[in-house]
Amino acid sequence: MNKTRLIIKREYVSRVKKKSFIIMTLLGPLLIAAFYGAAIYIGIQQSDQVEVLVLDETSLARNTEFQNTDNFRFKTYTGTAEDLIEELKENNDTTFNKIGVYLPGNITGVNAAKIYYNEPIGSIKQAELRETINDFAEKLKVIKAGIDQDAYATIQTRLNISAIDVNTNSESIEEIKSLIGFFFSFVIYLFIFMYGVQVMRGVIEEKTSRIIEVMVSSVKPFQLMMGKIVGIAMVGLTQFLIWVALSSILMVFVQGALLPDLFDPTMLANVDPANMMQSQDLMQSQELINAGDNINATQINALVQVLLNTPWVLLISLFIFYFLGGYLLYASLFAAVGSAVDNESDTQQFMIPITLPLIFAFIIAANALTNPGGDALIWFSHIPFTSPVVMLVRVAVGNVEWWEILISMIILVVTFLLTTKIASKIYRTGILMYGKKPSYKEIFKWLRYK
């Protein structure tokens, strides 16, 4: 036991001290935060007001039809379309963007208008502007058709439709939820692969450097193998926990910098579900008021709701369990492969049966994004070779019973005990074999050696 601890310590310390580990560990969350920040930034950038020069050839319209908003200040332009284009071309003031809107005289007939720009505006702003122009054209048609404008305004409908999960009685946005689950699946898949291969490399290194025989004269091969596997697992967990900690800090920081309104402290304080419902109602009524011109905020609000509703503690605990279970299952097999060969280029043949189920599991998890309730998902979340990757998608979506998770866990533990036993027998013989690459038949024989 004491010796295994020594081995675990060496495997752990030697890897955690490596430059590549430190860089990856620190860079990972920075990359995540950078993506996250970029995504938010692209959505909300150019929040400066843009001057819109409206060239209106329709006789009915008056400038007052266009209400100035946070994003746009409308101004009537008189002249031809060519003049408008020229003026926009001459505008080199990069700090103040100017765009032009051309409304042709027969707009209701051709159903077309034009937006001219020198500097492009963000897609969300563009959508808002299109909506405004659309409304303008609609109003024009209403007037033309002689319909009462007030009556029309009451007919115009924009419903706020929520999808409620009857099990949890909460509004669910399955796609975003399964995306969160898939993120965890992906990390598990990545970690099993990354750290499984590290185990294999470690074993090959011990063989090629000929340290192995020195080691096995002091410790049992099983201790050596388990020491390596556990040590590397701890490296993986360390990396994951640092990532979680750094990412949360960075994300809060990024959000705080980019979306100060959204993340005021009172909102963060309202995390518990009871309050969530209230704030949801509040948001919904606000949405009704701002219906139409606040798509941006609605989307982000929805995302925030999902993020706050996600059972992070459960997910992260299950992540740790399934990562360890899946990793232990695969790592001993990777160790066995490493023991059977003399160098990494010989591993291909033996890697295929190990990597195939892992890649398959990943594909199943990816499919869950479009069909989170599928039957296949239920099956593969119980099969031990795929369950570590698949189960978390189901948990994130929320359609899984606790006993299902328990059964899947038990199967996983039993299987990894079994594979570890088999793998250790291959390992024990393999590490002392040099020279030619063994065949599957030979490896099978090793299982019976004393």
């Binding site: 030697s14 450097s209 000929r210 020195v214 080691m215 002091s218 002392l432």
Partner: protein, 332 residues
């Protein structure tokens, strides 16, 4: 622990692999405080035996005894093993690595460090404590390996080709240390192809050939058994006259001219002829300078035994081969 006559005993050890039998009923006895040469051609089964003693693999039949007790897990602490294929973790620091290996042998970190520093001084590698293993030359890495093998003061040392990779000065250093360890009470099993070293420091040997122990015992006795009654005679005078003074019972194996009328001849006395009879015959014909018995060298004994096995036992070997072949077939 009571001292047993044999620190290590292998009784009827058999080890089979899928395609061949590595050890066929091998028994050896290693006396306490001996330096025991474990000899044999490549692939004879020495490493298999050593691995069984180190509990790296288990025997299919037979038992191993340490001081009379059946080999068990706790004996790992009593054995120091330096394998022929030896390496170190390249990326580790030399001192940390040595400490790690010592701790795996059950030493406390503080004691291990103290003793390691002494040994590092003694072997002139103290400056390398903080360097990385990959910066060491082969000889220096070997020194580190030797130190880590003996640091925990094992009762039984198993050294597989300990001198390979060492220059003559370091070879001498290691030999002296081995002898010193023996004096301090250790028993050393030396597996090597370097017969000069065997000659120099071993007092017991076992020769494993084709998975069997074909020759073992005290080295002096073995040499005596293999002695051919050969003598080296240096004389002044005429070679023809010297040769003519022979009659039955002597044979000249070779001769050398040392100077104008000085010669050296190797002669073999046949059957029960005494040295005196030979001298009586040659003294009238030449002037004897010196007469020395020629003791067979381990190298010659090794070659003789192994070659003889090749010639004498083709039938045995055929039988053995067909046996392993059929065994192999069964395994398929």
């Amino acid at each position: 622990m009571t001292e047993h006559q044999f620190v290590l005993e292998a009784r009827g050890v058999v080890k089979r692999y899928a395609a061949h039998t590595a050890l066929k009923n091998v028994s050896i006895q290693v006396p306490n405080q001996s330096i025991f040469g474990l000899l044999g051609p490549n692939g004879a089964g020495k490493t298999s035996l050593i691995r069984i003693i180190n509990q790296i693999t288990g025997p299919d039949e037979g038992t191993i005894h340490i001081n009379g007790d059946r080999l068990a897990q706790e004996h790992i602490q009593d054995i120091g093993y330096m394998p022929e294929e030896r390496g170190l973790y390249k990326k580790m620091k030399v001192g940390d690595h040595a400490l790690y290996l010592a701790q795996l042998k059950g030493m406390k970190k503080s004691t291990a460090k103290k003793e390691l520093l002494t040994w590092f001084e003694k072997f002139d590698i103290a400056d390398w404590w903080g360097k990385k293993v990959e910066e060491l030359s082969k000889g220096m890495a070997q020194k580190v390996q030797f130190i880590t093998t003996i640091l925990h003061k094992p009762k039984l040392l198993i050294l597989d080709e300990p001198f390979s990779g060492f220059d003559p000065i370091n070879t001498k250093l290691i030999k002296e240390e081995i002898l010193k360890l023996r004096e301090e009470g250790a028993t050393v099993i030396l597996s090597t192809h370097n017969m000069e070293s065997v000659e120099e420091i071993c007092n017991h040997i076992a020769l494993i050939n084709k998975a069997e122990n074909v020759l073992s015992g005290e080295m002096d006795k073995i040499k005596n058994d293999f002695s051919k009654n050969d003598y080296k005679v240096v004389f002044k005078g005429n070679v023809v006259a010297f040769a003519n003074s022979f009659w039955g019972g002597f044979e000249m194996m070779g001769k050398n001219q040392l100077s104008e009328n000085m010669f050296e001849a190797q002669i073999r006395l046949l059957d029960n002829v005494k040295l005196n009879d030979f001298l009586t015959g040659v003294i009238p014909n030449c002037e004897i300078q010196s007469v020395q018995p020629i003791v067979p060298r381990m190298n010659d004994i090794f070659i003789e035994v192994v070659e003889k096995a090749k010639k004498v036992a083709p039938t045995d070997q055929d039988a053995a081969d067909s046996e392993t072949a059929s065994k192999g077939n069964n395994d398929e």
